[in-house]
C-alpha cells in the first residue's frame, strides 16, 4: 500500500513537470478535438499522430503521456459527434448515440453534453484509482511468470479476443492470425534467417510498426471517409442553454458507478475495449431499470452508463498493457508499440525499472481527467464547431498528416506506397466486417508470442508438456476455455427462453 502512495508521489513529480503538464493538457485538448471530428475515433487519432509524436524526439515518458492524453481525450470527445450528429467516432461511441442523440433532439443537447462529460469524468477517474492499486499488485504477481506462462497468457488474450470482439469469431481469429503473420516478416532475431522478405531490403528489419498502424487505421479511415461522403449530408443539432443539475446527477449516480465498474473490468480483459464495455453497461442498465420504456428515446441513464463505461475501459485497458505487456484494447496496442519504439518493454518489471514511465503515466491520467472536465464544460461549443469543418478539407488534411508522420520518421518513399496499400487492405477488411483491432493486436504481440514459445521450448529441450506445467498456465488455459464457452452457453440459453 505504501508502495502505491510513494509511486504515485513520484509519478506526480514527473507529471507535474511543467513540460509534461503542458503535454497532458495539449494531448487532452487535441484528443477532444480529434474525437469530436465525425467518424474519427481514438484509435485513428492516436495512429495518425503517433509518428509525429515520435519524430519530435521527446523522452519516452513525455511522449507516452502525450499519446495517452490524446487517447482518453478522444474517448471523451467522441460523445460530441455522437450526441449532436448521431455519428459515432468509433465502435465505443455507438451506444452513446442511442440516448444521447434523442436527448439533443428533445431540446436537451446542453444537458446531454454536460451530463456525459460528468459521467466520463467519474468513469475515467474511478478507473485510474483502481488502476493505481491493481496495476502494481498485478505486476508484482506477474514477475514470477515464466515463458510458458506467457504463452498461456497470449492464448487467453486471443481467446477472449475471438469470443468477445466482433460478430464473427472466426473473422476475429483470422484477423489476429493476419496480424501475427505480418509480424513474422523480416529477419528472425534468433537465427538470422530471413523470412518472407523476398529479397526486398526495405522489409529485412520487419514491417515497420508505424507503417502498419498508419496504413490500417489512418489510411483505411481516409478511404472510408471518402466512401461515406458520397452517401449524403448530415445535419448537426445546435447546442442549447440546458445544463445538467445536481438532481439529474443524483438520479444517475448508481448508473454511473455501475458503468464505471463494468467498464474498468471489461477494459482489463485483453483485446476488449470500449465497444464491449459500453454495450454491456447499456444492456445492464436497461435490464436493471424499473421503467425501461424511455431507453432509446432520451433516457439520462442510457447516456450516462455507456459514457462512464467507455472512459473507465480506457483506464482498464492500460492495466494489462503496463503490467503484462499485453494490451487491453486496439488503442493500447498502439501505445504498447509506441513504447517499444522507445526501447521500453512494458511488462511486470516496468514499475520497478522504469517507474517514471509507469507512474508518470498514471499520475498524468489523474490530471488529464480533471483537465478534460474543466475544458469540456465551458468549451463544448468550440469542440462542437469541429463538426462543421467541411469534409472536403478534413479528408486531405488527414492524408497529409499521415504522410508527414511516416516520412519524417522513416524517410523512405517506399513506405508511402506501403501505407496506401495497407490502407486499401484495411478498408477491405473493414467492409467485410473484420474488426481491425485484432490485426494490430496480433501484429504487436506476434514477436512476443513467438519468442516466449521458443524460449519455453528451449528450456524444456523441445518437450511440449512444459506449456501446461505450472498452475498459472493451467489456470489461464481454463480461463481461456471459459471465455470461449460461457458466451456460447449463455447465448443458447437466451435463445431457448426467447
Amino acid at each position: 500500500m505504501d508502495a502505491v502512495f510513494s509511486g504515485l508521489a513520484s509519478g506526480f513529480a514527473v507529471a507535474l513537470d511543467p513540460f509534461n503538464l503542458f503535454l497532458v493538457l495539449a494531448g487532452c485538448f487535441a484528443g477532444t478535438l480529434i474525437g469530436a471530428l465525425p467518424g474519427i475515433g481514438p484509435i485513428n487519432g492516436v495512429a495518425i499522430l503517433l509518428p509525429i509524436a515520435y519524430g519530435l524526439g521527446f523522452k519516452p515518458e513525455s511522449a507516452i503521456i502525450l499519446l495517452a492524453g490524446i487517447y482518453y481525450g478522444a474517448e471523451y470527445g467522441g460523445r460530441i459527434s455522437s450526441i449532436l450528429l448521431n455519428v459515432p467516432g468509433d465502435a465505443g461511441a455507438v451506444m452513446t448515440t442511442l440516448d444521447g442523440n434523442p436527448m439533443a433532439k428533445n431540446g436537451e443537447a446542453g444537458k446531454a453534453l454536460s451530463l456525459s462529460a460528468v459521467a466520463s469524468f467519474i468513469g475515467g477517474t474511478f478507473s485510474v484509482i483502481l488502476m493505481s492499486f491493481f496495476g502494481p499488485a498485478l505486476a508484482s504477481y506477474a514477475i514470477s511468470f515464466s515463458p510458458s506462462d506467457y504463452v498461456a497468457l497470449m492464448v487467453f488474450a486471443f481467446a477472449s479476443l475471438a469470443s468477445l470482439v466482433g460478430a464473427n469469431p472466426v473473422k476475429t481469429l483470422l484477423g489476429a492470425v493476419i496480424g501475427l503473420m505480418l509480424a513474422s516478416v523480416g529477419i528472425d532475431a534468433n537465427t538470422g534467417v530471413a523470412r518472407f522478405t523476398f529479397g526486398i531490403p526495405d522489409i529485412l528489419a520487419g514491417i515497420d510498426f508505424l507503417v502498419v498502424v498508419i496504413g490500417l487505421f489512418g489510411m483505411a479511415e481516409l478511404i472510408h471517409l471518402v466512401e461515406q461522403q458520397a452517401a449524403g449530408t448530415l445535419k448537426t443539432l445546435k447546442i442549447d442553454k440546458t445544463f445538467v443539475t445536481w438532481k439529474d446527477l443524483a438520479f444517475v449516480k448508481w448508473t454511473i458507478l455501475r458503468g464505471s465498474i463494468i467498464g474498468f473490468f471489461i477494459g482489463i480483459l485483453p483485446g476488449t475495449g470500449a465497444s464491449v464495455a459500453s454495450a454491456v453497461a447499456y444492456g445492464t442498465e436497461k435490464r436493471a431499470a424499473r421503467d425501461s420504456s424511455k431507453f432509446g428515446h432520451g433516457d439520462m441513464r442510457g447516456l450516462a452508463a455507456p459514457e462512464a463505461a467507455n472512459n473507465a475501459s480506457a483506464g482498464g485497458a492500460m492495466v494489462p498493457m503496463l503490467t503484462l505487456g499485453i494490451p487491453g484494447s486496439g488503442t493500447t496496442a498502439i501505445l504498447l508499440g509506441a513504447l517499444l519504439l522507445f526501447n521500453v518493454t512494458p511488462g511486470p518489471l516496468m514499475f520497478s525499472q522504469r517507474p517514471e514511465i509507469a507512474w508518470g503515466l498514471i499520475a498524468s491520467m489523474y490530471i488529464g481527467n480533471v483537465a478534460l472536465l474543466v475544458i469540456n464544460l465551458p468549451l463544448v461549443g468550440l469542440f462542437a464547431r469541429m463538426l462543421t469543418i467541411p469534409q472536403q478539407f478534413l479528408t486531405p488534411l488527414i492524408a497529409v498528416l499521415a504522410f508527414i508522420g511516416v516520412y519524417s520518421v522513416v524517410s523512405n518513399p517506399h513506405d508511402l506506397y506501403m501505407i496506401t496499400a495497407l490502407g486499401v487492405f484495411g478498408w477491405f477488411l473493414r467492409k467485410l466486417q473484420f474488426s481491425l483491432a485484432p490485426v494490430i493486436l496480433g501484429f504487436v504481440l506476434g514477436g512476443l508470442f513467438e519468442d516466449n514459445l521458443r524460449r519455453a521450448l528451449s528450456i524444456s529441450a523441445g518437450d511440449w508438456t512444459i506449456l501446461v506445467n505450472s498452475t498459472n498456465s493451467i489456470a489461464l488455459y481454463i480461463l481461456a476455455l471459459l471465455v470461449v464457452v460461457v458466451p456460447i452457453i449463455v447465448g443458447r440459453r437466451r435463445r431457448r427462453q426467447a
Binding site: 509525429i52 519524430g55 519530435l56 524526439g57 464473427n168 472466426v170 473473422k171 481469429l173 483470422l174 492470425v177 493476419i178 501475427l180 503473420m181 513474422s184 528472425d188 534468433n190 537465427t191 534467417v193 523470412r195 518472407f196 489510411m219 481516409l222 478511404i223 471518402v226 466512401e227 461522403q229 458520397a230 467541411p390 469534409q391 472536403q392 478539407f393 479528408t395 486531405p396 488534411l397 492524408a399 497529409v400 504522410f403 508527414i404 516520412y407 519524417s408 524517410s411 518513399p413 508511402l416 506506397y417 496506401t420 490502407g423 486499401v424 477491405f428 467492409k431 467485410l432 466486417q433 513467438e450 514459445l453 521458443r454 524460449r455 521450448l457 528451449s458 529441450a461 523441445g462
Partner: protein
C-alpha cells in the same frame, strides 16, 4: 460474394505463406528446438482453416457501392500513390498543394477556397513541421529552402 472473392485471394496468400514456411525457411544450424520455421508453420495451420470457414460461410453478400463511389475510391488511391511518388522529388510543398487541390476539388470544394486551403497546408505545414517541430520533410525542387 464479396466475402468469397476476398477470402479466395486471402486463401492463396495464406497457402503461399504456409508453403514457404514448410519449404524455404530453414536455419543452417538449429539453435533452439523450434527454429525460425515452426512458428510460421503453426500460423499457417491455424490460418488456412479460418479462411476456408469464411469461404464456406460468407456473411457479406456485396459492398453495395454504386459504380460512381468505386470510381471516386479508385481516384483517391491513384492520388495517394501519385502523392507518394512525387513527395520526395517535387518536395513537400508542391506535392502537397497539388494533392490537396485534387482531392478537395474531387470532394466538391470550390476553386478559390480549395486553392487557399491547399497553399495554407503546404506552406504553413512545411514551416511548422521543419522549423517549429524539427521534423524532416523533403524540400524537393525548391532547393532554396534547404
Amino acid at each position: 460474394m464479396a466475402d468469397r472473392l476476398f477470402a479466395g485471394v486471402l486463401l492463396l496468400v495464406v497457402i503461399g505463406y504456409t508453403v514457404i514456411a514448410f519449404t524455404v525457411i530453414h536455419a543452417p544450424f538449429q539453435y533452439d528446438p523450434l527454429g525460425p520455421e515452426s512458428w510460421p508453420r503453426l500460423l499457417g495451420v491455424v490460418g488456412i482453416p479460418c479462411v476456408l470457414y469464411v469461404l464456406a460461410k460468407p456473411d457479406v453478400a456485396s459492398f453495395g457501392l454504386p459504380l460512381r463511389t468505386w470510381g471516386r475510391l479508385a481516384a483517391l488511391v491513384a492520388m495517394l500513390l501519385g502523392y507518394g511518388y512525387l513527395f520526395q522529388p517535387l518536395g513537400f510543398i508542391i506535392a502537397t498543394v497539388a494533392f490537396c487541390m485534387a482531392l478537395s476539388m474531387m470532394l466538391g470544394a470550390k476553386l478559390l477556397p480549395a486553392l487557399a486551403f491547399s497553399l495554407g497546408i503546404g506552406v504553413v505545414g512545411y514551416f511548422v513541421c521543419t522549423e517549429l517541430l524539427d521534423l524532416n520533410l523533403p524540400a524537393g525542387v525548391l532547393t532554396f529552402l534547404r
